[in-house]
């Protein structure tokens, strides 16, 4: 195949990308680029807006609600990422011993992921309420003193919501790790056992390092899902009580659509993008380096 021919061949292909590129450029790339100039204005969505330079960004520094939203988002993310990965890994490690039966159970674990955040919120709001199932169970087993109005108590609300997120996504983490377990060559495990390694040793010395790529995928996805969280706190607690469940995503939604502060809200969007980019890139770099060391 000569070079010129390949060239023609490829050029006739390019038109195939045009519809996708056009739509993507119009509705994603353009608004994304537009974010920057819009964040430098005092726009309220109307036809006119003054350029205010970096005022919106300076205003962030004095915005106590924003700082707490940032804190809530990070706490939520750390809690969920750790819990989801640990539970997913434990479930995958357990289910993989049981062959087909384990696979069937893994499918059951995925059913919460079918629910929308809204529907999951509806179920859990009911479970969490004052005379709901969780408090009733606590009462019934003699732990009545632990009863809480889970979503109305600032110290528990964020964690109560984190539980729902973990509940929805642990099955997905489990299937990511299950796929990872399947890539570990059987003779490697066999060799370790012949060397007299017990189950913990086999796990820590052989399986855990070999699962490094799965851990990268699980953590990256979990991170992306957590940093954007908005529907769960919106529906379950309206960001309250006392802003305890107000996240960055929710703060943007309210600033833009409830308060109509388009300019400031867009500056918050830029902050969200920065947070997502920095954390995901950093986590990815660390995890990939770890993969390189271990594999």
């Amino acid at each position: 195949m000569t070079a010129p021919r390949t060239q023609t061949r490829s050029r006739t292909l390019l038109p195939f990308t045009l519809p996708a590129v056009g739509l993507y450029a119009l509705l994603m790339v353009y608004p994304l680029i537009k974010t920057i100039p819009l964040s430098l204005t005092d726009s309220e969505g109307g036809p006119t807006a003054e350029n205010v330079g970096l005022a919106n960004y300076r205003a962030m520094l004095d915005d106590a609600t924003l700082l707490s939203a940032l804190g809530n988002t990070l706490v939520f993310t750390v809690v969920v990422v750790l819990a989801q990965s640990a539970i997913g890994l434990a479930l995958a490690a357990m289910l993989r011993r049981w062959g087909g039966y384990g696979k069937a159970l893994a499918v059951v674990l995925l059913t919460p992921a079918l629910l929308s955040s809204l529907m999951a919120s509806y179920i859990w709001s009911s479970l969490y309420q004052q005379d709901g199932a969780i408090n009733s169970v606590l009462n019934a087993i003699g732990l009545g003193s632990l009863r809480q109005v889970w979503l109305a108590e600032p110290s528990t609300a964020l964690y109560a919501i984190a539980v729902v997120h973990v509940w929805m996504s642990a099955g997905l983490a489990a299937s990511i790790f299950a796929a990872g377990f399947r890539t570990i060559p059987e003779d490697m495990l066999e060799a370790a056992r012949l060397d007299g390694a017990n189950r913990w040793q086999v796990f820590w010395k052989v399986e855990w390092p070999m699962l490094a790529p799965s851990l990268t995928v699980a953590i990256t996805l979990s991170l992306l899902g957590c940093l954007r969280v908005l529907e769960l706190p919106l529906v379950m607690a309206k960001g309250g009580p006392a802003n305890a469940t107000n996240t960055l995503g929710l703060q943007i939604y309210r600033t833009v659509f409830a308060n109509g502060e388009v300019g400031y809200g867009t500056a918050l969007s830029v902050l969200l993008l920065a947070v997502v980019t920095i954390l995901v890139t950093a986590a990815n770099a660390l995890l990939r380096r770890r993969e390189g060391r271990l594999l």
């Binding site: 061949r9 996708a20 590129v21 993989r96 059913t111 059987e186 833009v256 997502v276």
Partner: protein, 300 residues
């Protein structure tokens, strides 16, 4: 062991899991024993208890539930469901959601497959940049560009239109689609297409006759992924659709929410009804669904 594992027992994944089990079922400490199995099963059932509880409570009258929150439905009633169905305008909402979901799926698949076909076969010109551009968009949350998008939709007079919402979903899902299709097309031997071209088939014919049929499995996985994302989404229709007659299931379910009174007998049936169509799909196409949900993991 190796020969057994090569027998095609259906999905390749299933074969691999047999191999893995073959070894790990053996270890000495009875972890694979019936007791451990029972414990594991109980644990997994614990995950679906909220569903079972929601279902059981949905079948009871509100007064009964208020009195004994944990009791079972001794006098089952469907009145909660019929109330939820009319409050959510269920048939209408489902129809609206099906239109939005279907439209988004068609656009994502057609545009994604065409682009993936081209980007998988060539690295010439700006194709590399186009691919990179798509990949950068993967995982960008809606709320990073929602305000400019809202103003743009307003200026295009697409605000409050079903087609506008479909276009947004399509654009947001294109990165995943392009990723799926490009990776897949790269695994198809180039000679296949070249042979067709030597036989005089044009670009379009090669695409439709050779590539499109091969894209079936990856399309199924993508469809599951897009369907779940669109069906379950609340924010985009909440922001971009105002007319009550156009509202999707999630928006109409959301409008039931009353912060002051959380009534399980209102919320549980709504949640179950919202999930029901997806659950049917899940049961019918279990393997595809599992692949789409976990493989779609690349999403973001």
């Amino acid at each position: 062991m190796t020969t057994i594992s090569k027998i095609p027992v259906g999905a390749s994944g299933r074969t691999a899991s047999r191999t893995a089990r073959g070894g790990s079922a053996r270890p000495s400490r009875g972890t694979g024993g019936p007791l451990a199995r029972l414990a594991g099963t109980v644990l997994v059932i614990g995950f679906v208890v909220p569903f079972l509880f929601a279902l059981s409570t949905s079948l009871r009258s509100p007064e009964d539930v208020a009195e004994h929150p944990l009791a079972l439905p001794f006098h089952p009633t469907l009145s909660n469901f019929s109330r939820a169905i009319s409050a959510m305008q269920y048939p209408r909402s489902v129809l609206n959601t099906v239109v939005v979901t279907g439209g988004s799926c068609v656009l994502v698949v057609v545009l994604g497959a065409m682009a993936g076909y081209a980007l998988g076969l060539t690295t010439l010109g700006w194709s590399r940049w186009a691919y990179r551009g798509f990949m950068l968009g993967m995982g960008v949350p809606l709320f990073v560009f929602v305000a400019p998008l809202y103003l743009l939709m307003r200026d295009l007079h697409l605000l409050g239109t079903t087609i506008g919402v479909i276009l947004i979903y399509a654009a947001m899902n294109l990165p995943v689609a392009v990723f799926f299709y490009t990776s897949f097309v790269r695994t198809i031997p180039g000679e296949l297409g070249e042979a067709a071209q030597l036989d005089g088939a044009g670009r379009l014919r090669t695409f439709f006759a050779i590539y499109l049929p091969l894209l079936g499995p990856v399309t199924a996985t993508l469809l599951v992924f897009v369907t779940l994302m669109v069906w379950n989404d609340l924010m985009i229709p909440l922001i971009f659709l105002q007319d009550p007659d156009q509202r999707t299931l999630m928006v109409n379910a959301y409008s039931l929410l009353d912060e002051r009174i959380v009534r399980p007998t209102d919320l549980f049936p709504a949640a179950l009804l919202g999930m029901a169509p997806l659950f049917v799909l899940f049961v019918l196409f279990q393997r595809r669904m599992v692949e789409g949900m976990s493989g779609g993991g690349v999403k973001g």
